[in-house]
Chain length 375, copies 2
């Protein structure tokens, strides 16, 4: 284990890739799915079980953590890894996306974004420098630059202005990161430009000039639809360097992920498996089911009898149905666990398929099993 | 493992006892604390972790289970053990106590008690025979007779009438149990009589004439206070046969349990560790603390650094404080686990002390550590 951060590309199958991101806190097998641990906990999960599903890395949300318990408090307690009892890699976002979606009275300027906390109304300012400072206080292994993530549809001129602001913030983020970070930590730049090919290219060029150890694709999965998202990836990822990891932020459902891996993406995060698990939706090899449906009240079969995951294997659908109807904690606990296992099994299966040069067959099988048409 | 149910008394220290209740589903070390799994789940706990704390047996509530998912459904799914993934002994109550405290429009007659469900208003009738039928459908290893549990204070005449009704129901319960039960299952009679010595004696005599493999002490922990509860135990347990287990229903806080063990009780159940855990109260060797208190927001120490329990050992008080403030599932999950570990550690320590003939010293140490005066 060295202090270096680097990506080891191990195999390619058409545009799809598999490899390992090496960090001082451990390796991250790609394609990787990162469970979301918003407020320092993957909701309803014990860290040991998150790991047992096969997760190499979890995501923390800068916006939530800066407000409660605060980055300074987490730092005084030894950092986010120790705080949440997760000794492996952690990626944090910049906080920008959630400021824009969750906070009140937000105001965007060249300097950054000022806002009021959705928790207690207190005033805060998030700049590229402050975001990096917070992420370094948390001790994040993979940090994100502050960016602006505009909604789509957006006019070309507005998309250009927004992309250029994000590019200037990328440079300021890099400067702050160089000053504050520790060896082995990494900062990713974020490609913006909405669904305009020229802007995505220009955004990428400007980021590569600044030079980052990894690049995120931002501004997608904001309502544009799966086909449009795939179209943007198709004219973006081929221009990204092969040697750096590529992270598609906030994506997605299983078919989104499979399709994005086919288009060259390496890293993903999404609340889908955890949030839907808390609400009674279970992902299965044949697609999602709602366990609260009356049809499961007498079903003696588990979600996946062949699984090694206790949540998938050791409890009948009838029991899970009962737990949700009775409003018991154990329902969300088991379904979250099951869904995370489903996602990690999916990632592992894709890594194997890419290594074996049979990812095309994998996609065909996935479409047939789930009934998904666009992958 | 035979099909027999029996109690092996291993050691006595004054009135305190230690031993093992042997059942076909496994042994129950006494004094025993039974975590409450009301609706087929010990709230916010995985069964493996319930077991890991040292629990040999859990309790299920007939009232809740008969209404949802229904005893017939549980039976069709293979019984409560399989349903909730707990292969060890299960004790069920008769349902009577919760009918009286939770249901609507209840009416008590010689035949039984009719009531409306608190969930959907549906009408039900619970008789001694129906209670046994339900408990046999669930597959309970230790079943309880239907009884009436009057509030205190109660006049002597009313207490006598109530106790006599419970005694008649005991006989009907036994007859139904003989007909419906399987080898190795046990039915306990319940001693009533409020806080009247003559009635408790008479209740016990009538039950011993019917003959049960174990006896519960009911009608306590209903607001009479710890001193009064101990006074009732002091004139009740000395008349109970040494060879049968004694179960004090619905008790209690740690000091209640320690004091009741000193007065000859072998088995306990209570929602205290689980319910208080969900609300942020943690039991510690120095007594209970409220983890939501601001004083813990920066406390880097775990609840018990010496514990083998991950919930007690691997998370700082500051983190637990954060989880409760943020309304995260993991807060109740960890504090419930910690509290159950505390309770099971307490029971194990009492068993050791009784075996070693130093239970008096154990009580003195417990009082000194917790500041409890009445034990």
């Amino acid at each position: 284990m060295t202090d270096a951060f680097f990506f080891e590309l191990q195999a390619r199958d058409a545009e799809a890739r598999t490899g390992v991101i090496k960090t001082p806190k451990g390796g991250i097998r790609t394609p990787a799915f990162m469970p979301v641990g918003t407020a320092g906990t993957v909701k309803a999960m014990l860290p040991d079980h998150v790991r047992a599903t096969g997760a190499d890395i979890v995501l923390g949300n800068t916006y939530h953590l800066m407000l409660r318990p605060t980055a300074e408090r987490v730092a005084a307690l030894g950092g986010l890894h120790k705080f949440m009892n997760w000794p492996r890699p952690i990626l944090t976002d910049s906080g920008g996306f959630q400021v824009m979606s969750l906070s009140k009275l937000r105001k965007l300027t060249e300097e950054g974004v000022s806002f009021q906390s959705h928790i207690d109304g207190s005033s805060h300012m998030l700049t590229p420098e402050r975001s990096i400072e917070i992420q370094c206080l948390l001790g994040s292994d993979i940090q994100m630059q502050l960016d602006e993530c505009p909604a789509m549809p957006i006019a070309h001129g507005d998309a250009r202005q927004s992309m250029e602001l994000s590019a200037r913030w990328a440079a300021r983020s890099k400067a702050a990161f160089v000053e504050k970070s520790k060896p082995g930590q990494a900062l990713f730049g974020i490609v913006q430009g909405a669904n305009y090919e020229d802007l995505r290219r220009e955004s990428l060029d400007r980021l590569m000039e600044i030079d980052f150890p990894g690049y995120s694709v931002g501004g997608l999965a904001v309502g544009e639809g799966r086909e449009e998202m795939f179209r943007v990836l198709e004219f973006t990822t081929p221009h990204m360097t092969l040697e750096k990891p590529r992270y598609l932020m906030g994506v997605g459902k299983p078919a989104d992920i499979v399709g994005a891996v086919a288009r060259g993406i390496d890293m993903f995060d999404c609340v889908a498996p955890t949030r839907s698990g808390r609400h009674g939706q279970a992902w299965t090899k044949a697609g999602p089911i709602n366990i609260k449906n009356a049809r499961y009240a007498d079903d003696p079969e588990p979600l996946d009898a062949q699984s090694d995951c206790p949540a998938s294997r050791d409890y009948s659908k009838a029991y899970l149905n009962h737990l949700f109807r009775a409003g018991e904690y154990l329902g969300p606990m088991l379904l979250t666990w099951h869904n995370l296992q489903y996602y990690q099994d999916l990632m592992a299966a894709m890594r194997d398929a890419i290594s074996a040069g049979r990812f095309g067959q994998f996609i065909a099988d996935f479409k047939a099993a789930t009934g998904e048409e666009i992958v």
